[in-house]
């Protein structure tokens, strides 16, 4: 039996691509090495009664056009917006984030009246950058080295967009793409706590510190999503992030696609320079007219494709593609809601992101540990208690806590992580939370601790890099992942990339999968129902 397309990996991008291809009438199979579906958008029950968002934990970037094209709401996807957020300070206080504009202003004013009134201008600047970048997400990047009409037209379109901007806006944009988030925030704010809260989005998932040039762009990457049109807002997928891949799977099956779990791909079969199928672990072969890899570019080409099939320059660039892991994760089952004495009773801050790092300086020091090959002794956390909003993920009165942790290097002192390293890493995180929440440790029923080692072994992310490659400007647009191969095609005919190593990069966005499917369908001239990106009005 032969398929029109075999997709490696049942992560969100693999499933998105599969859904579009199946809807266009192609015979599609998705192959997943794990016994479960989801990749890094997964919900698993590791402690009875508790559902974890084991890897990715919040939703904003997933493109609403894709949700609508693939009818994901019909298959159960619901996104619940945050209701608050807070950063705790070492002196026993906190800075909260509120949805209400005036409440947020008054909260900022507790730290700096000037900063309170500077926030609107900051938001405007970010929004201006978003308006430029967002339309690029759902387009195949032009290749500036070719003279193909399509690339020229796309470059011209980009040029026109730049031309619509004023000179000062162009300067600001180029500065923003290249500067550090610390420098950017210093231009707007004076309060260390406010800057600490805002800086987090610029370093999540990135092996950069807040003072590293290029980190400001990463903030933008986290800002250009939306929850129901509310740009920059984040929310929880009801039932955990696995709800996204579950809905995608249901959508895929409804259009006749298959998903096979429990057996990974050993090798992409290549004949005469063309991909012709897959050999699975154990030897079974699947014939397919084309193969899409949702694995990152390194794993795809360095582990599952014969090297002699590849041009050496390509391979060298793939080897050098930066996938430095920087983060870990704790998923914790709690017997009761944690108590944070700093917060006023009944405050909405727990219904959003919680941070325990109250200055940009401290984040940079945490990054210093990463550079030295250690996990951060004083890490920063992006911690959530989704069960404060989502009633489905824990028994009543009990809670699931998701802690995203930075920094955790891919190797410890140049060697592999050990179980003892992992447990010490987990303990550091729990100790940090307990400093702000007395009795916290007694409420922990179970904790899943994940370092880059676990992320690579289980999800397949090389070096544990959650974006399948860093979002630094040298690895974006027509340079992602490799110059000349940014249009989802690879040196091997009929082998395509559809994961976050490709444009526009990481996060649970779905755009790489959708764009890859668009390229394939353009090639096959299959009739397709794929809406254009919503206009940024």
């Amino acid at each position: 039996m032969s398929y029109d397309a075999a997709i490696i990996g049942a992560g969100h991008n693999g499933l998105v691509a599969a859904c579009y291809l199946a809807r266009a009438g192609l015979k599609v199979v998705v192959v997943e090495k794990n016994d479960w579906i989801g990749g890094a958008a997964v919900s698993r029950e590791l402690h009875p009664g508790f559902t974890y968002s084991n890897c990715s934990y919040v939703c904003s970037l997933f493109r609403p056009e894709i949700m609508r094209d693939l009818e994901l709401p019909k298959y159960g996807l619901q996104v619940l917006p945050y209701e608050g957020g807070a950063v705790f300070t070492r002196d026993g206080g906190y800075l909260a984030i509120f949805r209400d504009h005036d409440a947020n202003r008054r909260e900022f004013a507790r730290y700096s009246p000037r900063d309170a009134e500077a926030y609107d201008r900051y938001s405007r600047d970010i929004m201006r950058h978003c308006r430029f970048i967002r339309p690029l997400l759902m387009r195949t990047p032009p290749d500036p080295a070719t003279f193909r009409p399509r690339d020229l037209a796309e470059l011209a379109w980009l040029g026109r967009k730049v031309g619509e901007m004023s000179e000062s806006q162009i300067c600001d944009m180029i500065r923003f793409w290249t500067m550090s988030i610390s420098d950017f925030l210093d231009e707007h704010f004076e309060s260390p706590v406010i800057k600490a809260y805002l800086a987090v989005s610029a370093i999540i998932g990135t092996a950069l510190g807040p003072m590293s040039p290029g980190s400001a762009y990463v903030l933008l990457h986290h800002y250009m999503g939306d929850v129901d049109g509310n740009v920059g807002a984040w929310g929880f997928a009801r039932g955990g992030m696995g709800a996204i891949t579950q809905a995608l799977t249901a959508s895929l099956r409804a259009s006749g696609g298959e998903v096979r779990t429990g057996k990974g791909v050993e090798q992409v079969l290549v004949r005469n320079g063309r991909a012709v199928g897959l050999r699975l672990d154990g030897g079974e072969e699947i014939a397919a007219k084309r193969v899409l890899s949702n694995m990152d570019v390194k794993r795809t080409f360095l582990k599952h494709v014969d090297r002699d099939e590849l041009p050496p320059d390509f391979t060298r660039r793939v080897e050098r593609f930066k996938t430095r892991g920087s983060s870990g994760k704790l998923n914790i089952a709690l017997d009761a809601a944690p108590h944070f004495p700093a917060l006023p009773e009944g405050a909405p801050m727990l219904k959003g992101d919680l941070h325990f790092t109250d200055s940009v300086e401290r984040m940079e020091r945490a990054y210093d540990d990463w550079k030295a090959g250690r996990f951060s002794r004083d890490p920063f956390q992006d911690t959530m208690i989704p069960t404060m909003i989502d009633p489905t993920m824990a028994p009543p009165g009990k809670h699931f806590m998701s802690c995203f942790i930075q920094y955790a290097p891919p190797k410890i002192d140049g060697r592999d992580w050990t179980d003892a390293d992992r447990d010490a890493f987990g303990q550091t995180v729990i100790d940090q939370i307990a400093e702000y929440s007395p009795g916290f440790k007694d409420r922990v029923l179970h904790a899943e601790i994940r370092t880059p080692r676990e992320l690579e072994a289980e999800v397949g992310l090389t070096e544990g890099n959650i974006f399948q490659g860093e979002l630094t400007f040298d690895q974006l647009l027509f340079n992602r992942p490799v110059p000349g191969y940014a249009q989802y095609k690879t040196p091997i005919r009929d082998l395509w990339l559809c994961g976050s190593s490709a444009h526009p990069g990481g996060g649970v966005m779905g755009a790489p999968g959708r764009n890859a499917a668009a390229e394939i369908l353009r090639d096959t001239r299959a009739p397709t129902e794929m809406r254009e990106a919503y206009a940024v009005v």
Partner: protein
């Protein structure tokens, strides 16, 4: 609220006059304004509007942003910040002014009160502390948000001078844009002959603790003529008739505009009369000089008289029937002029050369369906309504 951390429990604060306004707001219609809850309509918008034009009205001004600017460099600083020449503003006087960013684009307009040689109050719609602070570098000046320290009340209408006299505050000698002070319950009541209605009127400034006694005194003094508390709906109608602009209704401040083409210069908002190029350097001067010399402004701000009797809110404007040339920002059926009036952005040069005539595309929602109207419009002078009583000194009894 003692513990500042609990501010989120009441995201909208109440003003110093809230107790009285809440009692009068039988419709319970409120809207947020700069973090405060304020009445839109209390009983009936038309009746409230009529009080502004017929007798006397009270409107709560507390949420208006007020910056207190003091110091030996205050005059120089404000000359640097704003468009007009502040050295020509006498003590105990007020002028209407505006300020721009370095590109000569409007950040806000407002009223500047000179309370002493080196003491000013800047009242405006939006918040500007970072801009005010950055502009103050090199000046001996201190800037503080004083919004919560002063309760402001607008008393507007033809009978307001008489009401104030009845209340024990003789304002007969107080000229437009001047300030006077009166003792009130051991404190000082500051009265300026200013307002947002284009009618005879005054604004009263008092420490918040005395807000309610002042309110009661005025209501009692004005009972003879039927003084009324009015909401923002009535006030907005009066201000359009007076031809006044509102920030974020008639233009988007340059520091808030996400879309770069939305920003406007003083030339483009017909505020260029304020610009005093002779006073020395001020923020945006170079850009404004260039705009003046090259006539590079792309927009004009115009007052329109529109056919028919349907308010042209947010209508798109056309030259003839197909070329888009502008956008109405504020519009109303004006009871006092008996015409459909509007304030609008119009792309130059159509403000002088709309060959096919100016047309407004109006959508009138009538029983769930839009009735689409194309109405002829004509550029007219602002203000639409300017009764002599607004300037008369001494003011008339009504």
């Amino acid at each position: 609220m003692k513990d500042l951390r609990h501010h989120f429990e009441a995201p909208l604060r109440t003003t110093a006059f809230h107790e009285r306004i809440a009692a009068a707001n039988v419709l319970n219609e409120w809207a947020p304004w700069a973090g405060y809850t304020t009445a839109t309509v209390l009983e009936d918008a038309e009746t409230e509007y009529t009080a502004i034009r017929n007798t006397a009205s009270l409107y709560d001004l507390c949420p208006m942003i007020k910056y207190r600017i003091t110091g030996s460099g205050a005059v120089d600083y404000l000359n640097r910040l704003t468009l007009r020449d502040v050295s020509r503003l006498p003590v105990d006087a007020v002028h209407y002014t505006a300020w721009c960013d370095d590109q000569g684009k409007l950040l806000d307009d407002g009223t500047l009160f000179r309370l002493g040689e080196t003491e000013f109050l800047l009242c405006c719609q939006e918040r500007h502390l970072p801009w005010l602070a950055d502009s103050a570098i090199g000046f001996d000046v201190s800037i503080r948000d004083a919004t919560d320290e002063i309760a402001g009340l607008s008393l507007q209408g033809p009978c307001t001078a008489a009401v104030l006299t009845e209340a024990g505050f003789d304002v007969s000698a107080l000229k437009p844009f001047r300030i006077a002070r009166y003792p009130f319950q051991g404190s000082t009541l500051t009265i300026s002959r200013t307002g947002f209605t284009g009618d005879l009127g005054y604004e009263l400034w008092i420490e918040p603790g005395l807000a309610l006694p002042l309110w009661d005194r005025l209501m009692e003094a004005g009972s003879y003529c039927g003084i009324r508390t009015v909401g923002s709906t009535a006030l907005n109608l009066a201000r359009i008739e007076a031809g006044f602009i509102t920030t974020n209704a008639d233009f988007v401040p340059a520091d808030q505009a996400v879309r770069e083409d939305r920003v406007r210069s003083p030339y483009e908002m017909a505020l260029d009369w304020m610009i005093d190029f002779g006073k020395g350097h001020f923020n945006g001067r170079r850009a404004l000089l260039k705009e003046r010399d090259t006539q590079s402004g792309e927009w004009a701000f115009v007052a329109l008289d529109i056919e028919g009797n349907v308010a042209a809110d947010h209508a798109i404007l056309y030259d003839g029937r197909d070329r888009e040339i502008g956008q109405v920002t504020s519009a109303a059926w004006s009871p006092v002029t008996k015409s459909s009036i509007a304030l609008a952005h119009m792309r130059r040069p159509y403000d002088t050369k709309a060959k096919g005539g100016i047309w407004a595309e109006i959508y009138a929602l009538r029983e769930l369906h839009y009735v689409k109207l194309m109405m002829k419009a004509e550029i007219v002078a602002r203000p639409f309504f300017a009764p002599p009583r607004r300037r008369a000194t001494p003011p008339g009894r009504f």
